[in-house]
């Protein structure tokens, strides 16, 4: 079984790096990006299987990044993290092709569950 390749996009470096480390511990190959631009670059040069995307970032709106990822690689599944508890933007993200959304702060087990489901979908594609 090949390793799942994951990209975590969050402007909170501490959050992103910690989460990345925990994912590594669970055998997931994880990259991090601290802004939308960096995320798109990483997707372009070494496309991951899955992306965890924070919707609220200083340089670029999460939804734009989502659209960019989907434009580059439609098979990449994106799980969004909504900070402001708004179901509306979560739903909007899903309409734009996101796999699912979770509210911050997120429970790791929930996240792993979602990742698993997303990876299954990605593998089928």
């Amino acid at each position: 079984m090949t390793k799942i390749k994951l990209l975590i996009v969050d402007d909170e470096i501490e959050f992103a790096s910690t989460l990345a480390e925990r994912m590594e511990l669970r055998g997931i190959e994880t990259q991090i990006a601290n802004n939308g631009q960096e995320a798109l670059e990483k997707v372009y040069f070494s496309p991951p299987d899955l992306v965890i995307l924070d919707l609220k970032m200083p340089d670029m709106d999460g939804l734009e990044v989502l659209q960019g990822i989907k434009a580059l690689h439609p098979s990449i599944e994106v799980i969004m993290l909504t900070g402001h508890g708004s179901t509306a933007s979560g739903i909007e993200g899903m309409e734009k092709g996101a796999f699912d959304y979770l509210m911050k702060p997120v429970d790791l087990n929930d996240l792993l569950e979602k990742l698993k489901l997303a990876y299954e979908k990605h593998s089928k594609a």
């Binding site: 402001h84 179901t87 911050k104 790791l108």
Partner: protein, 571 residues
């Protein structure tokens, strides 16, 4: 800590500033009411008073003028009648004393015949005498023995020659009955000497004659001589031949005199000298103020005025009370509206603030959560070491703490966010029945009973089912918490006008008024620290407002709390 606060607030008197403000406001309304009352009274009373006094004086003038006119008219009539009567007597005597009859009348027999004839015609004639130029009574017919009496020293005797005809005052004289005399002077034929025919007439004749005169406009009619002696008896002012206490002479302009009589009453006196006599005719009446007309008019006026005043007074009292009450009510309503608007505004800004805070806290919270998770992961994947159990337990504590924070921030965000309004047909009883199973377990465990009193056939209305559920869940949950153990919650639903009303009554300890004012504010909680977020009811409040409804809480200490939620049936 909350208990202490509650105890302290119940002991302390109400906010003194608020008390004085209340007092001041009460005083202001009272003052307003008084000024309104006086203003209305004056507006009503002044014209009424003016009209009444106008009527009063007008009618008095009219009455007075009418009275004076009548008196004048009456007097003129009486004057003419008496003058005619006196003239007639005078003419008779004048006729009898024909110049050439002097010698004939000196004869007692002839004089007797003449007297008898006169007496037959005019029973008032008392006696008849012929007096020669020297003042000696030469012949006499009458009840007294006056033959040969010398009149030359009497005053009238010198006057009679100048006047030809002379009417005397009424006197007692020798005859001891009031009488007056008519004397006629004639020349003795063939000489330069004069003789006098003297006829004495009983004063009663005059008196009876006056009595027959119509005296409708006067109370008293009598004759006074120029010396002020009554020539006929007066009803009020004395017997015959007593002095008349007032001035009988008419004033120079001939008008009616107004004066105060000897009894202290205001009278009108009309008087006129009678031609060819030494007399003045006097008519008096007591003036309008003693008349029946005036009395009844005054009484009517008084009763009408008093009645109107009392009715007006009562109306103004009532009216000023009603008006003040209305104004006070609208003031209070406005005040309440302002307070509510302020309250809503405050809730909204607190909500925004809360959302901002939650937002900012969420990110560091996520970091804490992840760091703790990482440590836990490392522990799980690494080997044993000293105090590993303690570290694990601490991590669990951190995790739980973060979870609690998460619940709070999520609720805060939920409170502040504008959820999409999901409109569907909703049956309120269905909503309530769906909510209860969530709570039944807890209720059963705490021996709390639900009483449902739901009106059937409540029409469906458009609303958000999920949010309605949230609302009732929150309220009922609060009721459960308030009761604690052993109690009951009564849930009612009914249609009132065009809205659906759901009432939730618990029999818990109730909510003190100071707290009742704040229960819909975010973070306001009476639960122990850590047990409640203080957001439940403020979220509920926000949801109800959003669904176009209203929510009220009423409570009495010791009797539980009552929450009432209204939703419009048509939006």
């Amino acid at each position: 800590m909350n208990i202490i606060q509650r105890v302290i607030t119940s002991i302390l008197p109400a906010d003194p500033e608020r008390v004085t403000e209340e007092l001041f406001r009460k005083k202001r309304y009272k003052r307003f009411r008084y000024s309104l009352f006086w203003a209305m009274n004056l507006i009503g009373l002044i014209p009424m008073l003016l009209t009444a006094s106008l009527g009063f004086f007008q009618y008095r003038d009219l009455l007075q003028r009418d009275e004076l006119d009548q008196l004048q008219w009456n007097m003129e009539g009486a004057q003419k009648t008496i003058e005619a009567f006196v003239h007639e007597l005078q003419a008779v005597v004048n006729f009898v004393a024909h110049e050439d009859r002097y010698h004939e009348l000196l004869d007692q027999q002839n004089l007797q015949i003449l007297f008898d004839r006169l007496h037959k015609q005019y029973p008032g004639f008392v006696d008849l005498g012929v007096i020669d130029s020297k003042g000696i009574q030469q012949a006499y017919v009458g009840p007294y023995n006056l033959q040969g009496k010398d009149y030359s020293h009497q005053e009238w005797f010198s006057e009679v020659f100048a006047k030809k005809v002379f009417i005397s005052n009424v006197v007692m004289g020798f005859r001891q009955t009031p009488h007056f005399a008519i004397k006629v002077v004639k020349k003795i034929p063939g000489t330069n000497e004069h003789w006098v025919l003297r006829a004495t007439i009983n004063a009663e004749t005059l008196y009876h004659f006056i009595e027959t005169i119509n005296t409708q406009a006067s109370d008293d009619i009598f004759i006074v001589n120029h010396d002020g002696i009554l020539q006929t008896p007066s009803l009020f002012y004395g017997k015959i031949l007593t002095p008349y206490p007032l001035t009988a002479q008419p004033p120079p302009n001939g008008q009616i005199r107004q004066m105060i009589d000897s009894f202290g009453k205001l009278i009108h006196q009309a008087s006129v000298p009678l031609k060819n006599t030494p007399w003045v005719l006097v008519l008096t009446n007591k003036g309008y103020s003693y008349g029946n007309h005036w009395y009844s008019f005054r009484q009517k006026l008084f009763f009408i005025f008093a009645g109107c005043s009392i009715v007006g007074l009562l109306i103004t009292i009532k009216l000023s009370k009603i008006l003040t009450e209305r104004i006070r009510e609208s003031d209070e309503k406005r005040h309440a509206l302002l307070t509510e608007a302020e309250h809503t505004h405050k809730l909204a800004s607190i909500g925004r603030l809360a959302a901002g805070v939650a937002h900012e806290i969420n990110n560091p919270l996520a970091i804490i959560d992840q760091k703790a998770g990482l440590i836990q992961d490392i522990l799980e994947f690494g080997g044993d070491f000293d105090n590993k159990d303690k570290v694990t337990a601490s991590l669990l504590g951190i995790h739980n703490g973060v979870n609690r924070c998460k619940v709070i921030t999520h609720r805060l965000l939920g409170f502040a966010r504008r959820m999409d309004f999901c409109e569907e047909q909703v049956q309120i009883n269905e909503v309530l029945k769906e909510v209860l199973p969530f709570l039944e377990k807890e209720a059963m465990y705490n021996h709390i009973k639900f009483n449902l009193n739901l009106q059937e056939n409540i029409p469906v209305f458009y609303s958000d089912q999920g949010q309605l559920q949230q609302i009732f869940l929150n309220i009922i949950n609060n009721a459960l918490d308030a009761i604690g153990h052993d109690g009951e919650i009564t849930i009612t639903s009914q249609v009132e006008g065009d809205s659906v009303v759901v009432g939730i009554q618990d029999n818990g300890p109730g909510i003190p008024e100071e707290i009742l004012q704040h229960i819909f504010e975010p973070f306001f909680t009476t639960k122990e620290t850590g047990k409640g977020t203080g957001l439940g009811l403020s979220i509920t409040y926000g949801l109800v407002k959003k669904l176009g409804g209203t929510i009220q809480a009423t409570s009495k200490l010791g009797e539980g709390a009552f929450f009432e939620v209204h939703f419009p049936l048509s939006l």
